[in-house]
Each structure stands twice: as structure tokens, then as C-alpha cells.
């Protein structure tokens, strides 16, 4: 075990500046998100664009490159790699690299913890957000690992990635060609299960390729495996039509009438209606994501307990004029709509939330979100419901003031 750790330390030493850059970028992302949450910076589109680029371009790219950085000191393709003539087994090397990769995947969550704690996240919210943040780097690693293990150098890795991108484009075109624009929309459960199946295929292929490379260095076989997996994914996209088994689908027991509650998207705001209080604990500063809402049956506490980031002037016009309508159907798929028209919010379009729910608008929204909405939609909804498990939450604004305190 200590020899494995010895290899890990070597790689950390080698990559220390890149890792530092990544840590700085991650902290920067969180800081930007914090700023965004506490300042009223609507109109500073550039700011939002920068933040968006950070979180969705810059950091993923570094994260992607980091995976190759891990690999290229010890190539596992055929050849005369330094480690191959030393008393290091493929298994040990794989363990060392996997260990370090796992640590690097945890890093974003670790960096974010101080920020989250600074915004009064409870353990549950911490857990949710950590998982959410982990997911990004895990997915990136999943994409990067197969290319890294078949590349003999950083330059080859870039070439292979480009080839991969072209290949994906090709597959997508093929998909469009074959699937066309079918008349019947694909039911969400099918989409979800397809997603999971494709993920499983890719995890398997990446793992098998890595094992093949580390133990046997047979690059051609690994490439064949990956190409097969890519086509398998295409096949699933075209022909898999089973939904998620009922057991896996989120239970959506309908236990009570849905409740319509409108809340201002600002920390400290709360609304009471019909015995339900919705209180915004904080606007979560990781830019991609979450606003914590807590719902309780009781009256809200005095405003003195709310975070100091509360805007001083609750009556100041809030620039947001849009409503985010989020709904979930029985198949556990979520849809969200954005509308400027409050009349569209009918009770019969309401569905149910699970008691704790996290979603990321970038991931979960359908494709037709107007681009100028993007910054605002960065506030997603983490909902914690006490005593009730059905409610629709709409993040809205000025209309709420008519009914109660903002």
C-alpha cells in the first residue's frame, strides 16, 4: 500500500501547479457564485457570462486535462514506458492513478464546503450539494479516462479527443438520420432509462479499456471496445424503449392537494399562506445551483434571524419577471417551464415533489430556455418540506408582495 501511495505522491508533486490552478478556479467559481447571490448584478450580463464560462467551460476543461495529466507520466500504451521496466505492476499503477483521480473528484466538494457552511447549509443540504458537485467531475473523468488510457502522450490525447468529438458528432448525425423526427415524443421514463443505460455502457467500456491498458497494453483492443460501446450507445438511443422499472421510479404518492406558493428569490424572504410558510434560508452560492427553501407549518420567525445578506429594501423592484414552473410526473421525470404569464399557472398542471429534491436547471430544463433567462435560472430549487410532501414552488417576484410580506 505504501508503494501505491509513493506513486500517488509522485504524481501530486508533478501536477502540483495544475492542481493549484484547479483549486483556484474552483474557489473562484464559488466566489463568483457568492457574489452573484448577494449582489444585485442584473444587467451585468458579462458577469454572468464569465461565471457561466467558468463553471461550464473553464473548470470542465481543466478537469478533463487533469485526467490526462495523471496518465501521461506513465503511459499504458505499447512501448518503452519507464514504469514498465521497473518493479511496478499494472495493478498497482492503476490503483495509484484511480486513488488520485478519486481524490481530485472530491476536491470540488471539499473546496465548496466552507462556502456552503457560510450559508448555513445543514448536513442534508451539504450532502446533496456535494453529490451534485461531485457528479460534474465524475462525468468529466468518465469521458476523459478512455481517451487517456489509449493515448501515449498529451498531444495524442488531444488528437484522440478531437477524433472522439468528431465521432460523437457523426453518431449524432446518424441518430438523427435514422430516428428522424418521429411523430410520437419519447416518454420520459424511456429517456431516463436510456440515459442510465448509456451511462452504464460507458462506465463499463471505460473500466474495461483501463484494465486492458494497464494490464496488457493492447491499445487496439481497447479502441475496438470503445468504438463498440459508442455504437451500442447509438443503438440504445435508437431502439431502447423500456422505461425504468416501477420499483426504480420515484414514489409519487399523491397524498394531498397541491399548494401553490410564490416566493421571492432572495435570501430571507418568506411567504405565508394557508398555514404554509415558505422561507428562503439562503441563496446557494455555487452558481450552478441551489436555493434552499424550507417549508413549515408554523409562522416565520422574526426577520432578525435572517442572514444579513437580506436586501435592505424589500420593496425595490426586482428585475425578475419570470416564473419558473417546475413539475414532476409519475415517471419521476421532471419538466420545467418558464413563463412570463402568471395565468398559465393552473392547479391541474401541478404535480408533486419529493420531499427533498435537487435539480440543476442546466441539466434538467428542456432545450428551449431563452438565453437571457439563463443567469436567473441559475437559481435552482432545493426543497425541504416539513410535514408535507406535496407542493409546488414557484420562484417569482413582485406579485407575491400583494399577498404577504416579501
Amino acid at each position: 500500500m505504501s508503494l501505491t501511495w509513493h506513486i500517488v505522491r509522485k504524481d501530486i508533486t508533478r501536477l502540483r501547479w495544475v492542481i493549484l490552478l484547479w483549486v483556484v478556479a474552483l474557489a473562484g467559481e464559488m466566489t463568483l457564485a457568492s457574489l452573484q447571490a448577494t449582489l444585485d448584478v442584473e444587467g451585468h450580463t458579462l458577469f454572468y457570462m464569465a461565471a457561466w464560462t467558468f463553471g461550464n467551460v473553464f473548470i470542465p476543461v481543466i478537469g478533463y486535462g487533469l485526467v490526462m495529466g495523471l496518465q501521461d507520466d506513465d503511459p499504458v500504451t505499447e512501448g518503452d514506458s519507464f514504469w514498465m521496466t521497473r518493479p511496478i505492476t499494472g495493478g498497482r499503477l492503476l490503483s495509484a492513478k484511480a486513488l488520485l483521480l478519486a481524490l481530485l473528484c472530491l476536491l470540488p466538494a471539499v473546496i465548496s464546503v466552507p462556502f456552503w457552511l457560510g450559508h448555513d447549509f445543514g448536513l442534508g443540504a451539504l450532502r446533496q450539494s456535494s453529490l451534485h458537485v461531485l457528479w460534474r467531475q465524475v462525468l468529466i473523468s468518465l469521458l476523459a479516462v478512455p481517451f487517456a488510457v489509449i493515448s501515449s502522450s498529451g498531444a495524442k490525447f488531444v488528437t484522440n479527443t478531437l477524433v472522439g468529438m468528431v465521432a460523437v458528432l457523426g453518431l449524432w448525425l446518424l441518430y438523427r438520420l435514422v430516428a428522424g423526427g418521429g411523430p410520437t415524443p419519447i416518454p420520459d421514463p424511456v429517456l431516463v432509462s436510456r440515459g442510465w443505460l448509456i451511462l452504464a455502457i460507458w462506465v463499463f467500456a471505460a473500466g474495461a479499456a483501463a484494465l486492458n491498458q494497464y494490464y496488457r497494453h493492447r491499445t487496439r483492443r481497447s479502441v475496438a471496445l470503445l468504438v463498440t460501446a459508442a455504437f451500442a450507445c447509438l443503438a440504445v438511443s435508437l431502439w431502447w424503449d423500456r422505461g425504468v422499472p416501477a420499483a426504480l421510479a420515484a414514489g409519487t404518492a399523491r397524498r394531498a392537494e397541491p399548494v401553490l406558493i410564490e416566493v421571492a428569490a432572495r435570501a430571507g424572504a418568506h411567504i405565508s399562506r394557508d398555514g404554509h410558510t415558505v422561507r428562503i434560508i439562503s441563496v446557494i452560492p455555487d452558481f450552478s445551483r441551489t436555493i434552499v427553501l424550507e417549508v413549515s407549518e408554523s409562522e416565520p420567525e422574526s426577520s432578525a434571524t435572517y442572514p444579513a445578506s437580506l436586501s435592505e429594501n424589500p420593496d425595490a423592484p426586482h428585475p425578475q419577471e419570470h416564473y419558473l414552473l417546475v413539475s414532476q410526473d409519475d415517471g419521476r421525470a421532471m419538466t420545467a417551464e418558464v413563463t412570463r404569464n402568471p395565468e398559465e399557472l393552473h392547479a391541474d398542471r401541478v404535480r408533486y415533489f419529493r420531499s427533498t429534491l435537487v435539480f440543476n436547471p442546466y441539466r434538467d430544463l428542456p432545450g428551449n430556455v431563452p438565453s437571457n433567462m439563463a443567469p436567473w435560472i441559475a437559481g435552482a430549487v432545493l426543497v425541504k418540506v416539513e410535514g408535507r410532501d406535496a407542493a409546488l414552488f414557484r420562484l417569482a417576484d413582485p406579485p407575491a408582495r400583494k399577498d404577504g410580506k416579501p
Binding site: 508503494l3 509513493h6 508533478r14 507520466d73 514506458s81 521496466t85 521497473r86
Partner: protein, 304 residues
Amino acid sequence: MNVIETHQLSRRYGKADALHGLDLTVPTGSIFAFIGANGAGKTTTIKVLMNLLEPTGGIARVLGVDSRKLGPRQREKIGYVSENQKLPDWMTVRQLLDYCRPFYPTWDRDLEAKLLKQFELPPDRRIRQLSRGMMMKAALLSSLPYRPKLLVLDEPFSGLDPLVRDEFVRGMLEVSQQSEWTIFISSHDINEVEQLADRVGLIDAGRMQFAEPIDALMGRFRRVDVTLGNAEPRLESPPPGWLEVERMGNHVRFVDSQFSGESFESYRSGRFPDADVVPAPMKLREIFVTLAKSRRVQVAPAGA
């Protein structure tokens, strides 16, 4: 015991055979010079021995173990230096040594320090900043302190100036414990290996042409210079060991690859009456060039 043994070793690339039925034996305690033209299969053989490539036929055994199954326990006793292998060039010399050391239970820190000094390598210089000669020394330095039982060197001298070569060889010999270790060295630098080697093997087009003690090899090759007298020489149907038979005027010369006292006497009088026939020893390099030029098959020792 043989440190290296191959039986009918083959390695195919597409349609071509890089190695074809190669039989090679390296006894423990020898310094084996592995010579051959470019593309003859030297590097391929070494890569197979080190399990950087798998054979497509036959078997190779290194330290008693199938080359395909070489594991840490064997590698702890093998040193490998190749002009093809890239060291982790971001490390300093010291970092390289610190990295390698824990993998070898027999690593001797005193020997490491001694060799570091002997090679005059700056410990805190990064490997990518080293000259080629220093880089090869660094590679060797990372392969010696654990006193490997087998040292495999693939073109270690290429691109090195004579002084560095000298230092390189001294470093290698520093570690020797006489019969306990073996060196397998492939090199174009035949003059350099001639003094060191006690066995020589020639590979040509993927096959071993011969492998024998160097004294025996040098003993059976002679360049023969003949100054004819008045009688005509008898050059028809020359013995099978004769190579490059040439004649210009009264000067005849050839290489006898199966020289022995008796055979020499017999053809001296039998084929060259009334002539001065002077045999001279040949350097290994000359032997190699002669063999490379000549495509005649019978170059193995008579009776082999």
C-alpha cells in the same frame, strides 16, 4: 544456469517476421555482446525479453521465468537502460533516485552516493536539462544501486562522446560482483563492446547467426593477405569459410572464418605455392562488417 534463454522465439509485425526462430542463451556471469545491423532485430529481441512486447511464437525465459510473466520479483533484479526509453524528464536526478529507491529492496544507498559522485551528475538538475550523455548516465545510475543480477543495455553508447562512454563502462563495472551478475548489451559500437564482452552473438534478419565466446570467434577469423610468387594460386571451389575472396594482380586477399592452424597450413601450401601468405587477426568490428557485407550462409563455426 542461464540468465536468458530463448527457444524458437518469433515476433511478427503484420506480414513480416521481426524475429524468426531465435535461439539465444546467455549464461550467468557473462558479458554478452548482441550485435547486428540496423533492423536486424536487436531492439525487438530486447523488448521481448523485457516483456515490452509479447512473442508471437516460441518462448523467452529471463531469470528462469517466462518473459510474459515477468513480475516485480524479477524486475527487482533487472537493470535496463535503453536509448529508446524516456526517463521522467520533469524530475531532478535526486527525485528520480528517490522515486526508484523504494521499489528495490536491495537498493544500496552508499553505492548510490558513490556512483552519483563518480558520474558527476548534478543532483538538483532536471533530467530534461541534462545533455544526452548525462541523461544516459542518469538512466544507468537509476539501474545500478540495487545490484541487478541482469543488466540489459540497448544501444547505451549511441550519441555519447568517448569520455562519457568511458565513465559509463566504469560505472557498470563498479557494480560487478564477478560471477553473480550478467550484462546483455546490444550496440553498434562494436569496438566498445569488444573489450568488455566475453560472449558475442550476431543477429541477422531476425535469426541468430552465431553465439560463441569472443575468444573463439576472434580465434577463427583471420584476414589473409597473399603476395603471389611465380605460381598461380588455386582459387576454385574455395573452402566454405572463405569470404570476400579478391584478387588484383599479384595480391590476393580473403577472410577465413574458420581459421585453424592445420587448415591454414594445408591451404597455404596447397593453394598458394611459392607465395607469402600472412594471416592477421581481425577486430570484432571488421568481422561484423565482413559478415554484414557477405550474404554467404556458412558463417557458423565448423561443426557447430
